[in-house]
Symmetry: C2
Subunit: 226 residues, 2 copies
Amino acid sequence: MNLRVGFLKPNRLWPLSDRNEVEQMNKITQTKKRAAILAGAQRVFGREGFEGTSMDAVAREAKVAKPTLYNHFRDKNALYVAVVEHSLTRVRSEIVPPELRDMTATEGLKVITTRLARMFGRDDDVLRLCRICIGGFDRFPLATSTFMYNGPQRGNREVASMIALWAGRGELACDDHELAAQQLGELCKVGIFDPRLYGSREKASIDECHRIAAAAYQTFMARYGK
Amino acid sequence: MNLRVGFLKPNRLWPLSDRNEVEQMNKITQTKKRAAILAGAQRVFGREGFEGTSMDAVAREAKVAKPTLYNHFRDKNALYVAVVEHSLTRVRSEIVPPELRDMTATEGLKVITTRLARMFGRDDDVLRLCRICIGGFDRFPLATSTFMYNGPQRGNREVASMIALWAGRGELACDDHELAAQQLGELCKVGIFDPRLYGSREKASIDECHRIAAAAYQTFMARYGK
DNA sequence: TTCGCTCTGAACCGTCTAGTACAATCTAGA
DNA sequence: TCTAGATTGTACTAGACGGTTCAGAGCGAA
């Protein structure tokens, strides 16, 4: 792949700054195009991996002309990183909503396990994002570590802080909150995430997600409940 | 990529059958070369993915001339599938050894969790194989489903049958052996497998594997122990 | 309408890569 | 030593792909 940075034409969009107000007139169309490109690229990258994805394929999937791609993103690498970041912001869908702090451990953990199982079993964006990051860890270590930090680790920290809260209230018996949170997360993947990751099964049904969530809850409470 | 099947020269090796006895004289060298190619290809595929891997790179890694690659494997696809199969046979390293049947649940589960955690935290071949299969699920569904069937699913079945055995002896309280086995497996990944898969951490230390195994054991026994 | 901008489709360039051809060299048995 | 087959290095072909160029079309604002 040619990594040479092309000549920066002044009308290119990617700096996205230093634009006078007149240029805002087509902004809506532009952001629409940008969104279409990101969505299309996310699908193709998730399916084919970084090297397997051609810019022509992205253009086709996004129903956009190829120069438009390069009008919005400097090159394939930039598009890739943008896809990771974009997917991440969409995925950051509160596993731990604020109202959880007012719930008891038994109530709150039911909410958390249900949300987690549903994410692992049914969210296609999460799946694609994971595939993309696994495939790109070698070429884009920064994007991958951003994903790890803002994705799984952030989720774990949030769950761990809830567990700490409940433990502090005497509702759970747990020393290592971090470990407990990770165990809870893994328990919610059982049978519904890995097979999807390897492409060998379809999206789980809502019932199945509930079943897995309930099993995770039971096991977790057997260990850390009071 | 050109998928056209090339002309089959009669001295090509890949049918690996219909060979007269005289041809066996160089068999040792051949199998050595073949092994070198598979090992090298496994490394490169695991690092770079299918599309990111060039046959020249494999030849370089395996310290072999490019035509030798094609002397052993019809094309890149065949090499890829062979790598998956080969890694699988190596990886099929008894998580559930036969002597487990004579152990009690507490003893046996300690063995199983230790082996699982060690595999997830330290085995590079397993890691590469997972990456390869995740990256190739779309192009090689058969290879991936073979991997799922002979890898994770087979492991789960073996663990589940042991759990059933112990439950039958009254040492565990467990109805859904399959689910329990899957939960045990996931618990042994906690914090040591996913980060490696995403390339964001190194191999776990033996101590850390033991810690994770012990935590998995405790949680599992809290739920299913008597 | 004109101005300024983006989008489009197609053609194009340079590079990389899968796979092949070939002639020379090596290896092991007879 | 002879021989058959495997290996090697190099050079080649055909096609795919990243990225660019260009002329023209669409569109909102003044």
